[in-house]
């Protein structure tokens, strides 16, 4: 991959640290472990540092850090999370049966050792969090694969935070995939070949001749690779990266993966079936850190605007792309949690809930949000406590997250 002079782009994922970090990985880790809490405690939160940590080698390192940093990357106030969905969230939803069908088939996404009963609880939560977000946003349409995103969030941050994150992602990063049709998604996929063309014309031409199309990368894109990676830790690493990046970044990673397999591709029979077959299967041993670095380089060298110009991609408007700037701006003025906790509490007692406390979530919610999310809350609460006594881990994990945040959050969780 040839290198052009790298320019900083507003995606904010500058490829720093590569020099030092690659040589002394431990050093990078230690440095991150110190940097991240510092960034979290800055006022306003040092979002640039958090983004850089999420994108650079090793990502956010631990789930504990993920639970703290992921919400910040999406500008979510952890002291003002949506309530647990009530039973009625499942009533009369047009996507209900599709969601159930997909979630019931999603066993592979859960840790291997997890007891079936525990997984079953999480699967029920998964159905609920998907439906509650869809219900709050009638303009969003469920797609098969959305559940792969939701499950990744659920497993890391727990039910209520997962709702908040899924909600924001659906309005921004995943927005194009949630149109009534997949036309916008196809449009996003159309960025793939122009990237390849810039870097390796021969490979590009080969793929064009094979008529392979880009559907092999469809599940990569719309699930952020959650659907195709056998190892959850790799999925998490990529989620760190994508949460800190431009919504088109999954396409740049797709390009990096195809380029990485260039030899294999060229040696395959130049035939749609063969090339599709080869590419749609992700090899076990992909060097993710390397590929992440390369996708960032590709992004910097061939930003979407440039590709759009060259490949006549402008004709269609992508909501994810066009709202990205605004989204990024909204992340710039977050208060640290210590302040948020105070403010949120104070605000709760003085002003109405409709006061816009933070940008994303609140603004888009219907007025009866509290009602919608609150109903049946107590029932669920009791059920969860009952289960936690016998089942432990899943619920405990959530509770632990909450412990990190203090009793306030714990109270909100149940």
């Amino acid at each position: 991959m040839k290198r052009l002079k790298r320019k900083k782009h507003n995606a904010g994922v500058e490829v720093n640290g590569e020099r030092s970090v690659t040589r002394e990985p431990d050093c990078g880790r230690k440095q991150k472990l110190a940097e991240i809490p510092q960034a979290l405690n800055s006022d306003p939160v040092d979002i640039e540092t958090l983004r850089r940590a999420a994108a650079s080698k090793g990502g956010l390192l631990t789930d504990e850090l993920r639970r703290k940093v992921w919400p910040k990357l999406l500008s979510i106030n952890v002291y003002d999370l949506p309530h647990k969905p009530g039973r009625d969230v499942r009533d009369n939803h047009k996507d209900y049966s599709q969601v159930v069908l997909d979630v019931r088939r999603s066993m592979k996404r859960f840790p291997k050792g997890m007891p079936a009963a525990e997984r079953a609880i999480l699967q029920e939560q998964l159905i609920d969090i998907i439906l509650v977000v869809l219900k709050c946003n009638p303009q969003l349409h469920y797609y098969q694969g959305y559940h792969d995103v939701a499950v990744t969030l659920l497993l890391v941050v727990g039910e209520r935070m997962a709702i908040a994150m899924l909600h924001t992602l659906s309005k921004y990063h995943l927005r194009d995939f949630m149109d009534p049709t997949m036309d916008s998604t196809k449009h996003i996929l159309n960025y793939l070949m122009p990237i390849l063309e810039q870097v390796d014309t021969e490979l590009h031409d080969f793929m064009i001749r094979s008529e392979v199309g880009t559907i092999f990368a469809l599940s990569w894109l719309i699930t952020w690779y959650g659907h195709v990676l056998p190892e959850f830790k790799h999925t998490l690493r990529l989620y760190d990266f994508f949460l800190a990046s431009h919504p088109l970044m999954p396409i740049y990673l797709a390009a990096a993966i195809v380029l990485h397999r260039e030899k294999e591709v060229k040696q395959t029979e130049c035939d749609m079936a063969m090339v599709h077959h080869l590419l749609s299967r992700i090899p076990q041993d992909l060097p993710y850190e390397l590929l992440i670095g390369q996708s960032q380089e590709l992004f910097d060298q061939y930003p979407p605007s440039l590709l759009a110009k060259r490949a006549a991609l402008q004709s269609r408007k992508s909501q994810s792309i066009s709202t990205f700037k605004a989204f990024q701006l909204s992340t710039l003025h977050q208060r640290p949690d210590s302040v948020l906790q105070r403010l949120t509490k104070a605000q709760d007692s003085t002003t109405s809930r409709h006061a816009s406390r933070h940008s994303g979530l609140e603004a888009a919610l219907p007025r009866d949000r509290g009602q919608l999310w609150g109903k049946g809350n107590r029932m669920v609460k009791m059920a969860v406590w009952g289960l936690s006594a016998t089942l432990g881990a899943a619920v405990f994990a959530v509770a632990q997250t909450a412990m990190d945040w203090g009793p306030e959050v714990l109270l909100q969780l149940f």
């Binding site: 599709q98 069908l101 997909d102 088939r105 999603s106 066993m107 592979k108 349409h141 797609y143 098969q144 694969g145 559940h147 009534p180 049709t181 997949m182 036309d183 998604t185 196809k186 199309g213 559907i215 092999f216 469809l218 599940s219 719309i222 699930t223 659907h227 395959t268 029979e269 130049c270 035939d271 749609m272 079936a273 063969m274 599709h276 077959h277 080869l278 749609s280």
Partner: protein, 240 residues
């Protein structure tokens, strides 16, 4: 597709590529139907010989293939397992309708809605120039769930007749003993796809090169599949 495949310098992943073996013809079959009817399970069973423990939602299109021998000829059967959710059909799956040799429509015998969707799927195929001239079959899956059947054989057979397709009722999960076990001991799913392959092989103009060897009409399922004795009738399996 088939043209390129069969004239190819080498033939793909299944054979090693030093010298082209006697050219392998490729039959490309697309499998469509509502989400959850069992398309992935059926194609997996045919290609891997067993019911998958865990399937997942198919996103876009999955591809499976298997090399079979029919009347002494090696044939590669390519199955394109498509996503059932409607939104994928329109703009995504399109691409894969091209150069298809046969279509397998699948519904779930325990789900009436999946049966009611069939006209839409058939229409969809027509729009991609896959009309009656292309071999098409209808498969009612999940026959093992005898207690929850919503689509009777009669009504399915009528529908199949009206669209001049053969009907097969089967189970990807348990294709050997359906209901009362009338289907004998052969792998029924395999028989279904092999039947399509035979049909394709017997169709002269379909794929280039050597004239088809098998005598048209004879269902001679290789690999001893015809040993259950009810050869031609077995796949009807009107028991369920």
């Amino acid at each position: 597709m088939a043209e390129r495949g069969s004239t190819g310098e080498f033939s793909g992943s299944l054979t090693s590529s030093t010298l082209p073996p006697p050219r392998t013809r490729i039959f490309k079959i697309i499998v469509i139907g509502d989400s959850g009817v069992g398309k992935t399970c059926l194609t997996y069973r045919f290609c891997a010989g067993k019911f998958p423990e865990k399937t997942e939602a198919t996103i876009g299109v999955d591809f499976r293939e298997r090399l079979v021998e029919i009347d002494g000829e090696n044939i590669k059967i390519q199955l394109w397992d498509t996503a059932g959710q409607e939104r994928f059909r329109k703009s995504m799956v399109q691409h894969y309708y091209r150069n298809v040799h046969a279509v397998v429509f699948v519904y779930d015998v325990t789900n009436a809605a999946s049966f009611r969707s069939l006209p839409a799927w058939i229409e969809e195929c027509k729009q991609h120039a896959l009309g009656t001239e292309v071999p098409r079959i209808l498969v009612g899956n999940k026959c093992d769930l005898q207690d929850s059947i919503q689509v009777g054989t009669d009504v399915a057979q009528q529908f199949a007749d009206a669209h001049s397709m053969p009907l097969f009722e089967t189970s990807a999960k348990n294709p050997n003993s359906q209901g009362d076990g009338s289907c004998g001991n052969s792998d029924h799913v395999e028989a279904i796809f092999m039947t399509v392959a035979h049909k394709l092989k017997s169709q002269k103009p379909l794929v280039l090169s050597q004239p088809p060897g098998g005598s048209p009409g004879t269902i001679n399922l290789s690999r001893g599949r015809d040993d259950s004795g009810d050869g031609g009738r077995g796949w009807g399996c009107s028991s369920c």
